[in-house]
């Protein structure tokens, strides 16, 4: 199949950037979306142009490095990561618009690459359980009901890709933050720091310039890992509890 892509090109953080149109020929429907970009990049390189920069690493849908907005949808038309999207999801002759995640807290570094360091800093602000190495008690001394463990696992599968932010009209990082609050808050190990965690993480979330949540739910419809929306409600509940205890 032959397709046309319109890609956001921006040399660096200070550049204004614009959409540029390219044709890509002989695209196989079995190619992944990123392989299609590889092919385009080979073409660009040989013709002396700058290839398109995009983040990617595992290409298995687990590292969370990849992610672009395709035709207005974070990670494109399927609920999966960009690297796991295949060209069979598009028609021959399609015109595909490719843009970087847009959010105040995710400044563009180059082309389709953005800086998601804000997510790491949210984790720094409390997204952990303080368990110094070597201090851990015997693992089976602490049974965790299977249901809680499964639920915690579900939230822990977040890959930190940032699609939720890109999809959210408010540029809110609430689904990401809530996934971590839920993962750790559901486990007995996570209880001692539960209040300080939610306070620290929310403060940092806002500090980074993410928007507030308006419960629209766009985040969940683009999250490749199916992080559930009720995690946000749980975060709200936890913060309410912490504030009520006068912890902030």
């Amino acid at each position: 199949m032959n397709i046309t892509v319109r890609v956001w090109r921006q040399k660096n953080a200070d550049d204004k950037g614009k959409m540029v149109t390219y044709g890509v020929e002989n695209v196989s429907e079995h190619m992944s979306f990123l392989e299609m970009l590889d092919v385009l990049n080979e073409q660009l390189t040989l013709s002396g142009d700058d290839p398109i920069a995009f983040d990617h690493d595992c290409r298995e849908g687990i590292c969370g490095a990849c992610g672009v907005v395709i035709n207005g949808q974070a990670h494109g038309p399927q609920t999966t990561t960009t690297c796991q999207l295949h060209m069979r999801s598009f028609e021959d002759g399609a015109v595909i618009d490719i843009e970087p995640w847009r959010a105040g807290a995710f400044p563009v570094v180059k082309d389709l690459v953005v800086d998601r360091g804000a997510f790491d800093r949210i984790i720094q602000a409390g997204g952990f359980i303080s368990a110094p190495t070597g201090s851990a008690p015997e693992a089976n001394n602490l049974p965790v009901p299977k249901e809680d463990a499964d639920h915690a696992f579900e939230s822990a599968t977040c890959i930190g890709c940032g699609a939720c932010v890109a999809a959210c009209p408010n540029g809110s990082g609430m689904l990401f933050t809530a996934a971590k609050i839920t993962h750790l808050g559901l486990l007995p190990q996570g209880q001692p720091e539960r209040d300080s965690r939610v306070i620290g993480m929310i403060e940092q979330h806002d500090h980074e310039g993410f928007g507030g949540c308006t419960n629209i739910g766009e985040c969940t419809s683009s999250c490749p890992k199916g992080i559930p929306l009720d995690t946000i409600s749980r975060l709200n509940r936890d913060l309410l509890g912490a504030l009520a205890k006068g912890k902030a």
Partner: protein
């Protein structure tokens, strides 16, 4: 064909022979007391002093993140580096199956000793007993540590931890978190690391690629890194350097490794004098999704557990074009069940991989290019019912359908082997210190505990063992003599290292040739796969060495690297990595040529039994090959391996 007459090893035209290595610093005495004794004898660092001591940790995978977090927590001043935009994306994140530990929660006869025994045997008697025993010992603490951090391992209805059996062993000792164990363990280590970053003990440098090691007065004292966003070349100096930069499977271009996995950190250290051990030991995983076209950029692993219920077959007729469903039962060859009646579809990874290769070489392969065999669930679906199969393998089937666009419930899956793990790496002693003083190596980057073949679920165990429980002691022992004299940025060694990096980048950018970096990488990968892959021969390896050398020359004359250094330049990043892969690839072939035996992941066609099984030569090759870099040719140092506890036997799966 069996090698009987010892003859001059043909590899010797490519390398020199150096002194044997006799002291890997493993303590003596009863094996179960060695680590405790060693820890007791290790020097300690006064907590007040630790702040003044600095450590550089390259890599934030399981090994690097756990080491940096633990060292930071202990009070050292740590600087951590990774090439991704976040430490959480290190390749450990992709591990699926699980992590072993000798907890014996199943009461099925597991013990530290059995894990030790299985690992030594699984490694085909090419690993050190002392190291492996220690690994088995600390495996128990790893699980405790991870659970305390909130890693959501699978649990049973009673709320206790669940286990499964994995990778051809008879006990259930594998802890897992659905098909995302690596992810969950890494997130645990990452969170511990972020906690230290917040506490100010660890300084994180993301999107920073190490390009050179700095040696000062015969000690590893620093690294040169490139800021991948601005292109700035930075030097960082410290009292010790830890490399935890992962494996080098990407030398094959196509592998299950992440796109950015590279050898640059370890190869640069090797060029500065660190020995590279057993580079030819590569693990090829039998159940991966086959290549679909020449645009293919990487391969995806399908969990080994699929072989529990899937049956592997090929059509009996060559070049059979029919759909799988149209091929009648009696025209199918369930070759694993036929050749290995006892183990059938569950033979170890290397045997299953090689068997698939033979079928495809014989023209019986299926799918594009004839590079694939069927993994068929029709019987399982009939026997267990579709819901049961769905419950067990649903997510894997979905993944397969997502990638191939085919429905594995109705059509059998197509699978083919792919490079998955590299057992080789920088040589280290019992302390995980390389032969370069002050350079420590952890995780997949070192060569240590897996011998010639790694058992399933043991890499995660090793990475975390190294980072949480081994390095913090052995590194302290080294640092107790520190802080060492401060190294200034203007020190001749620092300046020289920085200049070397800058020159190399300038050269790469100046070539402005006609071929892309990827095209070279693909060609190198094809050579490696054809001649240094599942089956190796003297002839093929010799040929490959020549081809790689030619290709390397061509690369330095004709590669096209666009853009400039002072920007995010992904082509430049790849070019540097590929340049190092050429040199490593050559060494792998030389190592493979030298090792005229078949062991673990290394299969020399010349060394097999009458019925085509791998044949080891313990009398001649029971040693670690530690390679020293040389401008003209490498030098081989042999570290003899002795087995006091596990008797050397040959494997049989018939």
């Amino acid at each position: 064909m069996t090698i009987t007459e010892p003859y001059k090893n043909p590899s010797e035209q490519f390398h020199a022979l150096g002194d044997d290595i006799h002291d890997a610093k493993a303590p003596k005495g009863p094996i179960e007391k060695r680590w405790d004794d060693h820890k007791f004898n290790a020097k300690l660092v006064n907590p007040a002093n630790r702040r003044k001591i600095s450590v550089l940790v390259v890599g934030t995978g399981l090994a690097g993140a756990s080491a940096a977090a633990t060292l930071g927590e202990a009070g050292y001043h740590v600087k951590s580096f990774c090439y991704q935009d976040s430490p959480r994306r290190a390749h450990s994140i992709a591990a699926q199956g699980g992590i072993n530990a000798a907890k014996n929660y199943r009461n099925d006869g597991d013990s530290i000793y059995r894990l030790f025994y299985d690992t030594v045997k699984g490694g085909d008697f090419r690993a050190r007993e002392s190291n492996v025993y220690r690994l088995a010992q600390v495996s128990v603490n790893i699980i405790d540590q991870c659970v305390a951090q909130g890693v959501p391992f699978a649990r049973e209805y009673g709320g206790l931890l669940d286990n499964r059996s994995f990778g051809g062993v008879q006990v259930s000792r594998t802890f897992y978190a659905r098909g995302q164990t690596g992810q969950q363990l890494l997130i645990g280590a990452y969170q511990a690391l972020e906690r230290q970053i917040a506490a100010g003990t660890v300084e994180m440098n993301t999107r920073h690629e190490m390009l050179e090691l700095i040696m000062v007065d015969d000690r590893a004292r620093g690294i040169v890194v490139r800021d991948m966003v601005t292109g700035e070349i930075e030097t960082h100096t410290a009292d010790a350097v830890v490399l935890a930069s992962g494996g080098y499977g990407n030398v094959f271009f196509l592998s299950t490794n992440a796109m950015g996995c590279n050898t640059t950190a370890t190869w640069r250290a090797h060029r500065k004098g660190a020995y590279f051990a057993n580079p030819c030991y590569t693990q090829i995983h039998p159940t991966c999704i086959p290549v679909s076209g020449d645009y293919q950029s990487k391969l995806t692993l399908m969990s080994e557990s699929l072989r529990n219920d899937g049956r592997i077959w090929v059509p009996e007729k060559m070049n059979d074009e029919r759909l799988a469903s149209e091929i009648p039962e009696d025209e199918r060859d369930y070759y694993l069940e036929r050749i290995y009646p006892a183990f059938g579809n569950l033979v170890p990874r290397d045997i299953a991989s090689r068997a698939a290769k033979y079928q495809c070489d014989a023209g019986k392969g299926v799918g594009p290019g004839g590079l694939g065999v069927y993994l068929d669930f029709a019987d399982a679906i009939e026997r267990l019912g579709r819901p049961a199969v769905e419950a067990k393998y649903g997510n894997l089937f979905d993944m397969y359908a997502q990638i191939t666009g085919e429905d594995p419930y109705t059509e059998p899956m197509r699978i083919y082997p792919a490079v998955h793990y590299t057992m080789g790496g920088l040589w280290v002693d019992y302390d995980l210190q390389s032969n370069l003083t002050g350079l420590f190596v952890a995780g997949e980057a070192n060569f240590s505990e897996h011998g010639a073949n790694r058992l399933g679920a043991s890499a995660l165990m090793q990475g975390l063992a190294d980072g949480y429980f081994v390095l913090p002691y052995t590194l302290a022992n080294y640092l107790a003599d520190g802080p060492f004299e401060k190294v200034d940025d203007s020190h001749a060694a620092v300046v020289e290292a920085r200049q070397a990096v800058e020159e190399r980048i300038t050269t790469l950018l100046a070539i402005n040739g006609t071929r892309t970096v990827d095209s070279y990488h693909k060609e190198l990968g094809q050579i490696m796969w054809d001649y240094c892959g599942m089956e190796r021969t003297e002839e093929g390896l010799t040929k490959a060495i020549g081809m790689i050398r030619d290709l390397k020359v061509d690369f330095w004359a004709n590669v096209k690297v666009t853009g400039v250094n002072e920007e995010l330049n992904q082509t430049l990043e790849r070019a540097g990595r590929v340049a190092d892969f050429f040199e490593l690839g050559e060494l792998m072939c030389i190592d493979a040529l030298n090792r005229r035996e078949s062991c673990g992941g290394h299969f020399r066609a010349e060394s097999q039994t009458e019925d085509g099984e791998a044949l080891r030569h313990d009398d001649e090759f029971a040693y670690v090959s530690a390679w020293e870099y040389g401008d003209k040719q490498p030098t081989l140092h042999k570290e003899p391996l002795e087995y006091e506890y596990v008797e050397m036997k040959s494997r049989s799966y018939k």
